[in-house]
């Protein structure tokens, strides 16, 4: 059953899967004060958590909450998407992939734990260790400021998840999972190829606790197809906690259509997300999602 309502960060970091001009408009609106208002309204509407990627503006926002609004910081559970792929794509565009790798190694070396892990992974010639150390280094500033008990899961960004499946990298998954478990954290996957992921985790006997994927009545970003993803959600939802994102098909449908659709799967969907730069809209969205999808919502809202 739907247990959590999560605030998403797309509107905060200039991402729209509807159209880039919408993203540009939202990015202009999304100043720090506006983001705080959105978070307050989201919590007032019933949001229980915040899922975000390791984008520098999210770090600035969380640092502000840590310094000045610990009350808000403590009221949310956190689902962190890592790494922030777009920033690396941009660096690769300028410098090339090999130079990017060397540069990231150089940038991360001054961190003591990263240096240790890099030397060890170099000695063992295990790139899995290097990737784990690299992700830990990217997560470090967030884990430093977020209340430990509120960080629920670390989710691999979709591009990494798709490459894990494409190149069959179960050792990497095992290594990342082990490294996070040592810190009391849980590894999950974000994907836009959910039916492929279903086949992959079954074939490789992986048992991720959290899975995040687009889920909407249009079948947008649902590969291989809407029907295949629905079947996979039914199957994996029995063992994993599935977080539905892009439930509004990037704004092409309204919230009531989303509730009606997800309602058919509410026994297998664990959490749903919503994102906006408009405080009143985000509050309304979470109220509608809560009323339509969360069991015992009325008593919880009180």
């Amino acid at each position: 059953m739907v247990d959590e309502l999560l605030l998403g960060d797309n509107s905060f970091i200039g991402v729209s899967h509807l159209a880039q001009d919408k993203a540009r408009e939202e990015a202009k609106e999304a100043g720090l004060e506006n983001k705080i208002s959105v978070i307050e309204s989201a919590i007032a509407g019933g949001a229980t958590g915040f899922t975000f990627s390791t984008h520098e503006s999210n770090l600035a926002l969380l640092q502000y909450l840590h310094a000045s609004r610990k009350d808000l910081l403590r009221q949310m559970q956190y689902y962190i998407l890592v790494p922030h792929v777009q920033s690396y794509v941009r660096k690769a565009n300028t410098a090339g992939t090999t130079s990017l790798l060397k540069q990231e190694l150089r940038n991360a070396l001054p961190r003591a734990s990263f240096l240790r892990d890099t030397i060890i992974s170099g000695l063992h010639l295990k790139p899995e260790n290097f990737v784990a150390a690299f992700l830990e280094a990217e997560l470090a500033p967030y884990l430093k400021i977020l209340p430990k008990e509120n960080v629920t899961a670390i989710l691999l960004h979709e591009v990494i998840t798709e490459l894990v499946m494409a190149f069959d990298l179960p050792n990497l998954v095992t290594r990342l999972d082990g490294s996070l478990k040592k810190r009391g954290l849980s590894l999950g996957f974000e994907t836009r190829n959910f039916s492929c992921l279903c086949e992959y985790v079954s074939r490789r006997d992986l048992r991720p606790e959290y899975l995040m994927t687009p889920f909407n009545p249009l079948g947008y970003q649902m590969a291989r197809s809407k029907e295949a993803v629905e079947e996979a959600v039914d199957y994996l939802g029995k063992t994993a906690k599935i977080i539905a994102i892009n439930i509004l098909a990037s704004g092409a449908i309204d919230i009531t259509q989303a509730v009606e659709y997800i309602g058919q799967f509410k026994d297998t969907i664990y959490a749903v997300t919503s994102s906006s730069t408009k405080p009143s809209r985000i509050c309304r969205n979470f109220q509608t999602l809560g009323l339509g999808l969360v069991n015992g919502w009325s008593s919880r809202a009180k």
Binding site: A19, R90, G96, T97, E162, S225, G251
Partner: protein, 344 residues
Amino acid sequence: MPEVAGYDQYVHQDLRFAVVGLGKMGILHSGILNLLAPGLVKAAVDKSRLIKIGASRLIKGVNFYNDLHRMLRKESPDVVYVTTPVQFHRSIVDALLEANVKYVFLEKPPTVNHPQLVSLTDKMRTDQTVMVGLQKRFALPFRHVKMLLSEGVMGEITRVSAYIRSADIQGPVSRSEATGRGALLDLGIHMVDLLIWIFDVRTVEASISHKIYGTTDDRFEMQLRTSKNVEVAADVTWSDSEYRWPETHLEITGTRGVLRATEDYVKVELTEKNALLGNETRLALYKPHYYQSVPPVNLADPEYTLENLHFLFCISSHTEPLTSLKNVSDTMNMVDELYAKAIY
């Protein structure tokens, strides 16, 4: 979409795939291929020892090489994706054609200039295919635009304006210094290709090149004309920080109204109702309306999977790709002309 119908049959052909160049485009294409059919890519070449050693220790199902010729001898691939920086394209494709590789996918831009492209088309045997990764032709909104125009929805076209903008480059770029060409060759080629494909642009009337960070063009403006004498104004930049991802924009003014389109949407406003707009005067369709349950693999933009499916479909059906080397020859020729006529 012919590429999607029955795709499961033609992605499972008995072919050996290799990738040359393991940068982001090489990883993207191999990722899509392997998600379409697990284990499709058998070999990869990258001259960087760091990448070769790292990748070979991480990925077990692919054989990695530093040397192209060694890979060709050992693997005898049927299909090779070339995703290196453009200055290496001609010599690599030359070697592939020489080694009798039947199917080559060549990332854009195909070559540094038109003479290099001609040298490759001259070398190709009739049973060899080279497809160029100009994937904007596979973006469904642009396909829709082409269909609407070919059905005469806009009436007579009187003016076209276009741009392609990104925030990719915010400093000097070493790879463009190697070719002496910048944003127009690397990014603008998509827009030039669309303008030729959709509007039959034929003539360069004027062009201006702007340098911002380095020794090559970071911004390019152009005035073009179609075979039907329609004026086209266009600009290219890879240094506009407002554009998180590359965006290609077309605005078409016709005797019956205005059409605006990007990779994300098609918006039409007409003076009279039209059957192709559902008997309305207005239409606004976005990505979620176009990409419903398609494509079957979602990695980066959907147009990448569609172009890969098109390539596999062409291999299976023995047909010429929409963006074959021959079919994009005019595009490369116009890029040369724009550079030749540019004032700085």
